[in-house]
Symmetry: D2
Subunit: 461 residues, 4 copies
């Protein structure tokens, strides 16, 4: 029962964060209506929030065409009858959504939402200002999508042949947003850790005033200088971005409901592998190191959203190895958010059961900071430290004589590695290094090991 | 595993809302440390937030002496080793806490928390400004305790003999807070519906800028006018406030761990009642109306926090009647938050089981808006509409010829009612009216019924 | 991880009970294989048991054509690849199942299951003897389906024109089962409370030896006497039995997955009712009595399985009124088990919210044993006690001058009631009476009330 | 609401199994009363069963003095007011319990429980026959404690100086139990895998008839031959048995409520270790193999109940390393059941976090069946296969040239191993071998590795 007798609080604004992608979506509502901003594909969380507030979801708003995850807007529309809204100038003819334009309004009880057209990150980008109709004419907050982040602004590298134009558009859009006033709280579509902006704060709360005074990009007051700064930026574009854009233009592939996960016995796992399924081991790096199914890929749950799109084709048939069915289900949801729906089961009974049933297993050596230090000191031959972090991380600090090859580029540029060399792979802590090592092994490079602790251990040695 | 390889987001700020009391507490942290602002007594929620972020709680901060609920600070300190901080000038010698003063700092990773002394609501009130050490010198936000709410300011009626002094102090404190700048986000200790402020917004997010421009009390720029406005306010003080203050000065009575709830059979409930326990029926008003244990009090779960303190002595032995053990447990937690620890069990098997076992039951008539309209039209004799809402609600709108007596004052002022008159009790929807009707019945007034729908139905007739 | 190092226990036998229908299904397994006996439609429970034992479900066995619930065999087959087995002589051509015959075996590790053809209750009835291949040649237990219950034997009234033949067949079948030996434990398809047998024990564990010595029907050693006893029995056949038989012959209508339940606002509920949906109130009788939506039917969750089939057409569009979404979901599952799939949502915000929104409500009077006693004593005119229990309950004990009309027959025989008479409805405790009263009200009889406590209160007066 | 209108089933009998110890306890009840047979220390499961049946627990029965786990009887008595019953002739003066004797009765509704004195396993052993007062005079079942198991009988090695006497007493007791008749179902206190009997069936359901005909020990019809067979048996007695007996005589040390588990950061774990806490790693063997905290002991959750009592002192301060807090909590409960209450926290953030923070880690090599086969073939020098299974497992099948030393005896007999030899440890699958290897490492033997898959892999090679 959500009816409360004393001074009912109807207005609500809740953040839904999707880990791995650092994606932020928002539910705002008043009275018996609610709106979801930039919903993800697994939409139960929005339905639960709305229901707990006694509200029905009436609209889903896309602040821009999403390229890094599958939108849940079309699904929300189907489940709740909500209207999907998006900005003008979309690349595709998006049949499931209605176009909104500058100054269009949505009113929910005392909440008033107003559209600002803010192209730049994409042509169809919009921001949504929030007003409380009972309390003055100043915006209380603004959903900024991928236009303005806490500590950064949106990337503008998606239209390479019109790079200056879109960077300039973003400059103008930011000024339009800032004009809402210092008091407006900022609600962006991404937090730190996202692949969509690189200088973000570690913080997920700020106001236009704080950003105006402290966001480095907003300190550049000259339009040309701003454009040049954007042109100088470098961003990664995982290949699955193109798939996401296409799916989102079509309405987002609907998730299989429910996300069923078949438990696999030893025998069933073995048969799936023979039958062409890729085995994805979502357990911790040290568990994979200890023993794993031969030719399986290490991809810990927390890295699925960021790296599956670099390493796996969306149509590849997959089976999971996990600690437990709960962990496997979490992995399934992470895969689903970025469009991987071909997961045919999960084996969760561990490598003792696997090996006791007569199945072969592999191990992968872990080395410590002491081992690495010694080898560097001794200048070991035919041995190389391979750093798979992002270029900007490597540029910030690297171990002398290490080689850099970004994990996301590993499959494409593996030819740069030497099969006669022994590689010790490192990253920030050893997680991405284990993913990389498993991919190298899968490609037939057997003299591979992982530096557990990696830069963390190096800096704490 | 909270270790995430990509751009770890460590800084976090989470709201914990306690329904019924509209109490807001906050957890802020960075890296492996966290601070809780104004914790309530059931502290598991704070431990869970900290753990999910990989942080240990190092401090609990009391922005002021709480009068409306039991503080969880002493319990948090015991469970986690956290240091409890409070402001100077406390009424009592609070042995479990350390006094902080203007400009004292707590640093958690990149978060810097700075103390502002902001007396007014209480002498010991403080506010806590939030800075991001990586991003400029402007406060990102401020925990304002009961000094500044969204749409209102703190009440200043707790020191009747020094009323002008404390109202003036609040004026000065608000100016000190506003000086942090328009960009700072406001994080108060109460949301709308609280007994601590009456003009609050229906909204729980705002910034100093938005409040400066729109909060009615902040528009009064003259100190004397502000003081006069505060003196003119009227507030309720439930008798349990004094108990809370005393317990909080002592460190908060510790909650029995775990909050065990004995299920009662029909026989056991009957014996508890004979043995002097008060029976509290936490089911919905219509369920109580249909059938209830004779002499039980109706107090739906959502009203416990607001009304138990008016109706029940904190030492009264209680037993619950609930729909389910889950509902009974929710009631138990609500009672516990305001210091009622003598709950001896719960009966959850319904009135069919009760009556089939040979036990007597009572019913309480519900009447509709049509019934009430007709009686008013016919000017029925010896009949009275009794409105038990707050005075300010009654002043805003009331049904002609109805009598007002606030539910909180019902027991004390029951002598104002006439035993020869038949009363139909109303409130906003019928919930508080049912509580009132059960209290009147318990006191021996039998000709009582409830207007289901109450003002809601009246306005929709 | 289910691998346990020490003396792995692989053999398992678990009971799954479906309340309301008193239906018992069983999962037996050893090693990595399991068999489900008489699965219900919501099959997750079987999948969970199998997975927790590390087993795959290889077979589903139907001991007979189910008439009182929808079988989950076809669904299990689809989800797991299991083979469905049933006995010979089925009425229909059941395409999804394989026929087994006398002495057919299924071997699961050390468990050996052997088919016994045991016609009588239905032509296709089989029993399944359980052997432990490591421990002797005697059956450890036997799944008896609807052939033998604890304290009773199966009903034989489904083929009225061949009544003697099937009763005789049952006699022979029981002797075949008893020949397995006193040591065999009995695992039937129904426990006490089922509509399929009337003399059952209150107990769900027994052995062939205990039944041979104590089951009243097994004391009749003469075949003709046994046949006569069966011919003398009287059983109810709810109209939905025919629907179940038909659906089960076709493979069981598949359940919508997941069983989604739309929460309804006041407005949505009101529109659904206008749009022709029947409102089913699954809250407790006293809650319904207190206030309910006009023209809604009372059907507490625990009575759905037993009475929906008498009162509602399987294609009728339904909406629920419940205390909580959890209660509504439980109701949904109960409806689903007997083929009611047209549930379009649930309203769970109570009658205060409903009436405060301006919607009309109804109440239904509850009377106590004292009221009833007084009226009987005073021989009140134009008033009648209406007992809606089963005929056998009424025959066992009834209140003098009460009228009997079984709840299941109420709609069909309502013409037997007098619209000029005031009825007080009773049953065992008041639950079925409330269902009956709501049905009478729905049919336009307004002078109806319920005796809360009913026979329970009468016997404890 | 457990009140069901139709043919209420009140009689219930539920099994509660404690994995690891293969301990079986039982709840039997009728109407509003229930009895628990041989409760374990974490008693919530019994309270939940009783409540779901609407019953209060009136008695706890100890079929004998428990030596392998802490009894929950005294705790149940405190929580529910239940009376604790035990047999005559107890070694200790058990103040919290009441002595029952031959033919004493407890009646619960229609259930009648009758005491049989059945000394042998212990002097105070009793069995409890179950009767249904409505259905004849034959026992429906019997709780046999540690007197009779499915496939075996109780061990009689606890009184070495009176071995013949107690073995003879058991013979007589078994005959007394069998006299209840073939039809009685057997409900013992242990299932397969227990340390209390060695020839048990893989099955947990049987009747006296099936046991009479198939239990090997019951085929010995000569008293002297039976005594001799018992004298010839060999059993392990972990040192903690003496602690359990003492605690149970005193009433069972009460469990700390709730079982709180402090999450530990890297820093906190490191400090706990320096401070003298033993680190117990409850993760899977392959995870421990991959990377673990130096000097930690491997003890996977499923082995805690069986091996903690051999390896750890009950007063040893412990901290856990686990995959997740859920796994750590499961470990905590397992430790608690056998009296280990000094668990000071759990680290669940994995070895990447640990090593990235600059902490050292260790690894432990896993070898495959191919590695082992090759070494055996090549007769590798200074290398030994060490089998740590139970003597009876080793006697049944062993790899040629392997050495046997039971895991439980490892610490006591480590002097039998040669520090100049390299050991590959094996067991059934690798789990116990990993525990043994970690204990050897902890004792300073570094040239140790584990045969993953062990006898399972050997037999499937």
């Amino acid at each position: 029962m959500h009816v409360i007798e004393e001074g009912v609080v109807n207005m609500f604004l809740e953040k839904v964060k999707t880990p791995g992608l650092a994606h932020l979506s928002w539910v705002i509502g008043d009275g018996d209506s609610a709106v979801v901003i930039d919903p993800r594909r697994d939409i139960d969380v929005y339905l639960d929030i709305a229901r707990s507030q006694g509200a029905q979801i009436t609209h889903a708003i896309e602040t821009h065409r999403n390229e890094d995850l599958i939108s849940g807007s079309a699904l929300l529309a189907e489940e709740t009858g909500a209207t999907v809204l998006h900005g003008p100038n979309a690349d595709a003819d998006i049949r499931y959504a209605t176009t909104v334009r500058e100054n269009d309004h949505i009113t929910l009880g005392n909440v008033d939402l107003k559209v600002l057209e803010t192209p730049g990150h994409t042509y169809d980008s919009i921001s949504i200002a929030i007003y409380d109709r009972n309390k003055g004419d100043d915006a209380v907050g603004v959903f900024t999508g991928d236009t303005l982040f806490i500590g950064d602004v949106g990337r503008t590298d998606f239209y390479p042949d019109r790079a200056e134009e879109v960077a300039g558009a973003l400059f103008d859009s930011l000024n339009k947003v800032l004009a809402l006033g210092d008091q407006a709280i900022v609600y962006p579509a991404h937090g730190a850790g996202a692949v969509c902006g690189s200088g973000m704060a570690d913080r997920e709360f700020s106001s236009l005033g704080h950003e105006r005074m402290n966001n480095a990009m907003l300190q550049i007051r000259d339009r040309e200088a701003f454009i040049q700064a954007k042109l100088d930026e470098q961003h990664y574009q995982p290949p699955y971005f193109r798939v996401m854009e296409k799916l989102n233009a079509e309405g987002g592939r609907q998730a299989p409901k429910p996300l069923a996960l078949k438990p696999l016995t030893v025998k069933a796992l073995s048969e799936k592998q023979k039958d062409g399924c890729e085995i994805i081991d979502v357990r911790s790096p040290e568990t994979y190191a200890g023993a794993h199914v031969h030719d399986s890929i290490s991809l810990p749950v927390g890295l699925i959203a960021a790296y599956a799109g670099w390493l796996l084709d969306t149509n590849q048939r997959l089976v999971l190895v996990a600690n437990s069915l709960e962990q496997a289900r979490e992995a399934l949801v992470n895969f689903s958010r970025i469009g991987y729906d071909s997961i045919e089961g999960a084996y969760t009974d561990g490598m003792t059961g696997w090996s006791a049933a007569g199945q072969p297993f592999s191990t992968l050596p872990l080395v410590s900071v002491d081992d690495v230090s010694r080898r560097l000191r001794e200048k070991q031959d035919h041995w190389q430290l391979l750093d798979v972090r992002k270029a900007e991380e490597y540029q910030q600090q690297a171990i002398e004589n290490s080689t850099h090859l970004y994990l996301g580029h590993l499959q494409e540029q593996m030819h740069r590695l030497d099969r006669g060399t022994s590689y010790t792979v490192l990253c920030g802590s050893g997680m991405r290094a284990m993913v990389a090592a498993s991919v190298l092994r899968r490609a037939g490079m057997h003299d591979v090991e992982v530096f557990l602790g990696s830069m963390g251990a190096w800096n704490n040695r």
